[in-house]
Amino acid sequence: MAQNQRPTSILDSLGEEIIRILTPVSICMFLVVILVSILNTDSSSSPVSSIATIAYSETNSDSSWDKFVGALLNSLVFVAVVTVVTFILVLLFYLRCTKFLKLYMAFSSFVVLGFMGGEIVLLLIEKFNVPIDIVTFLVVLYNFAVVGVLAVFMSKVAILVTQSYLVVIGMLVAYWFTLLPEWTTWVLLVALALYDLAAVLLPVGPLRLLVELAVSRDEDIPALVYEARPVTNHDSDSTSNGVIQRRVWRERRNVSPDLANNMNSSVSNSNSVGIDHNDTILAGAEEGRVVEGNAELSAPLLDHRMTDNQHRQEDDASSESLLLEGIGLGSTGAIKLGLGDFIFYSVLVGRAAMYDFMTVYACYLAIIAGLGITLMLLALYQKALPALPVSIMLGVLFYILTRLLLEVFVVQCSLNLVMF
């Protein structure tokens, strides 16, 4: 019987897509934590003047309430700027200035890789006393930045290179965000999570408008979006039919039936991030902030897929999609995560690293849990969802709990060598 030649169990391939998105997120967070622990040895270094600290720049001598109010003002200013810029992006997209948007994003990637990357490499060179001359440095940096721009925007490069460059861009921007003062960073993260929630779910939110525009026109939003490698079907059946992690994507049907559009939703948000020591120029960093499901299963499977009655919530979705799925089109599935999510997850973990490593582990687990919950909700609701709120809220919650409760407990037990 099946002794020597076991048929493959479902355990071999279940959950593969989630791992393919968790791995780069983890790598990005890990790199930021390493950078932070190497470079930020003194926490009270010169504060970076940027657009996020216009209203109030924190000093160590202020009281907690002052710091909190100042941080709140900073975040409000920042969120206001982000909202305005996103509306401008929606307007430009509406006026079909896609060429301009693409060029702008290429330019901003070049700035991030070239200038921000260059500054960080300079700091590292300074710290480790690497002997390198200016000409070599400039040539290598220029090549690095140009290849990065090419990899991210012209997709004829191997997907691994594109993914690596996206992770590097996320890491660089996240590192610069961790240079902001402490209270401002935390309040900013929470404010951006709330903004994301509003912008994607409210009918008047800019991100939702952007998504609807893109879907109605069947165009791709020019944005920096990380796409996991598509899972190849190991057999004729669908692989993305995970049960707990239900990722039953649904095709968005358009008015014209001859289009083979697999895009569920994707969101990008043009965000201006001004970080420079000397002056506050606005360098652009594009951020997409929505987890999108972009997959479809081969047509014959669609009938079998929805007969599972164990999840009651799915029944509504299933009847709808059965109606729509007349001319199903098969393509391999891939999860897309906007680069903004990478950036802000890494900012949270980087900021936690500035306190202690216990908070880093706790926040990492919280963010992964939030991402898992968001993916499950995505499978459940099947529309554009913001990926920031759940993870950021869980991350902040776990940071506070760890710092207040866990640390004392664990240190007390460990120092007395009492463990369980």
Partner: protein, 250 residues
């Protein structure tokens, strides 16, 4: 003491789990998710415990009986969570079997179920090692080291890494024993696991006596080896039973 020493301590505590992870778990994405989920659960249980005990900390470090109460309550809470984990796992198993039927693949094999239990246990063990040992290792990457009064023969980091290694073993394999015990209704296995956990926790109290870690840590390793042997015997028994049962059908 240096970066090398810091990495050394980390690998001491987590080396076997790293090799277990790479060889068994990294190949199956579902098991990676199980490890992450069980690590998160252990962390949440630890946060709840620290929340409950926060009012009483810091404890005086001369008397040992508050720590005994702490250990008893913590172990009891975590073992209670293990039962809940088992119930959740039963539901998960049903869902996975239904899904396997739907995509016309074989149902979960016995080895699959044991691997899930192993991944769950590994998550618990890694969480223990990370929070009780690794998070305190940050000073070890610097130029000096640290000694605790109670155990002045070896650096604190080394002691905590050794204790963490023992506990990683205990956590990892007691989950396999527990899940098999619940699956087969084997009372011995079901009571073995909480007993082992409690005994291991109480043995660390021996470290309270000055110089006690010389006795405490070997006993702890004895407990870990006991867990390993029991788990090995049980797994071997089940696998041979399973194979002979399948052989009868041929």
């Amino acid at each position: 003491m240096t970066v090398a020493a810091g990495i050394g301590y980390a690998l001491l505590a987590l080396g076997p789990s790293l090799s277990l992870f790479i060889s068994v778990i990294a190949k199956k994405p579902f098991l990676i998710l199980t490890v992450l989920a069980s690590t998160l659960l252990w962390l949440i249980s630890l946060i709840v415990l620290s929340g409950v005990w926060r009012a009483f900390l810091p404890l005086k470090s001369t008397t040992w009986w508050p720590y005994a109460i702490l250990i008893i309550t913590s172990v009891g809470f975590q073992e209670g969570l293990r039962v809940l984990l088992w119930k959740a796992y039963k539901r998960l198993e049903d869902i996975l079997d239904a899904f396997a039927d739907r995509v016309s693949k074989p149902r979960l094999f016995l080895t699959d179920k044991m691997q899930i239990a192993l991944a769950g246990g590994l998550g618990h063990g890694v969480a223990h090692a990370v929070f009780f040992c690794l998070s305190l290792l940050t000073p070890a990457f610097g130029p000096a080291t640290f000694f605790v009064d109670r155990c002045a023969q070896i650096p604190f980091f080394l002691v905590s890494a050794q204790i963490a290694l023992a506990f990683v073993t205990i956590h990892t394999f007691s989950m396999v024993i527990a899940f098999n015990g619940y699956a087969q209704g084997n009372k011995v296995d079901q009571y073995f696991v909480p007993a082992i956990h409690l005994v291991a926790g109480m043995v660390t109290l021996v470290n309270f006596a000055s110089g006690g870690c010389v006795i405490g840590i070997p006993i702890l390793y004895l407990v870990a080896v006991l867990t390993l042997i029991h788990c090995g015997k049980m797994v071997f028994r089940r696998l041979t039973e399973n194979r002979s049962r399948q052989g009868n059908f041929q």
